[in-house]
Symmetry: C2
Subunit: 232 residues, 2 copies
């Protein structure tokens, strides 16, 4: 009853196909043939595989080159469904500075990487192996305010969406009372939070549990590129 149709959406079969194409691609360095897909995804006709591939192309999950054997490649959009490739495209959502609030994220959303200019490619091998790539985003550090976190102006911090943290994890927090964004190691103590700078010579900040403290994400990685030289 009613239009409870799944049409227009991705079905299990679609995902199976994408997964297999991705697996095959990473394993053999080339896309599979239509018949190879059919075998593994239990589709007994090449026309049906072709049918699915056309749909996936329309949905933007892959591009096809007509009349070329193995003429297909997965797009970045596939990362929302399946983890693909050696490299993960992490969107740079904006700047992070001490005085400005952190960019708001819709929880669970995957930020598509339409704009390649505003993204960094991270080699998957540098991330924890279980990391799928959901909820990963990056911020560009502005100003010297993170120096006590050993993070410099211009650095890129790769973060994972989170609203809580375990002791010892480095998190991005927003302190409404201080109107301040900061990156610190997080420790929950008796009745307060201890925010410990990465630089061991610096003193921690203590926040009472009654005071507001918003965890915006965990720091996964920090990248500093040295191309442009210091001009002092």
């Amino acid at each position: 009853m009613m239009m409870v149709r799944k049409s227009k959406g991705i079905t299990d079969k679609h995902i199976k196909v994408l997964e297999f194409v991705n697996d095959y691609q990473t394993r053999y360095g080339r896309p599979p043939s239509i018949r190879e897909i059919g075998e593994k995804v239990k589709i007994s006709s090449t026309s049906v595989v072709n049918y699915y591939l056309s749909q996936l192309e329309k949905m933007g999950y892959l591009e096809r080159d007509n009349r070329v054997s193995r003429g297909m490649r997965l797009t970045d959009k596939v990362n929302q469904v399946v983890q693909a490739g050696n490299t993960l495209s992490v969107p740079i959502l904006g700047p992070i500075a001490a005085g400005s609030p952190l960019p708001e994220l819709e929880p669970g959303a995957s930020y598509s990487t339409d704009n390649e200019a505003d993204a960094v490619a991270i080699a998957r091998s540098l991330l924890p192996s279980k990391e799928k790539g959901d909820g990963l985003y990056a911020l560009r550090v502005q100003g010297d305010s993170m120096i006590d976190a050993m993070i410099n102006d211009g650095d890129i911090v790769v973060m994972k969406q989170a609203t809580e943290a375990r002791n010892g994890e480095m998190v991005a927090v927003w302190l409404p009372n201080n109107n301040e964004a900061t990156l610190k190691y997080f420790f929950k103590e008796k009745d307060r939070y201890r925010l410990q700078p990465a630089n061991p010579t610096m003193k921690p900040i203590f926040i009472k549990k009654t005071e507001p403290l918003e965890i915006k994400g965990k720091v996964v990685m920090v990248i500093r590129r040295m191309e442009k030289s210091l001009v002092v």
Copy 2:
């Protein structure tokens, strides 16, 4: 006269083939067909292309899957000849610490990445576009001695072989008189060198030009992974 044979070695044609396969692979996400290679490399017979591919396979530059269309993939060894893929495998040559000398490098050598455990994959898009990957190596920072360079224990510094530097570049230097390795911004002044810490709150070191100072490489990138949390 004499065995000035190029045989057993790579010829221009071989490199042309590898370059094209690599270009095609990065552009289309799949290897080219034998005939596509022949067109671009100006080989008018498929059997000749096959001939070269067999040789390249024997030399270890690529693997082939018999009787499969586009059944070939480049190996890591290709990186020594051609820049391949989205990701560059940079070998970690050893630790860097204040008190221990930096690893010696044979100039111009390309350090093959046999051992994947001792290498980091760097997304090529994070490197300067002209960077080919020769003479790139990485060091794992040991201890807190580089804190004034905003570099932490456990960080990975990606370096490029160099014995000189321009003003403002961050270099790894060995100071024989002090028996110290350090990472600093480099400035040549009238009769001295100024080594400026990345942390603007720290004071520079001055080295008279009469004193020895060995530049071991330029810092290209710093990577800090946060997987393991701080335990204090």
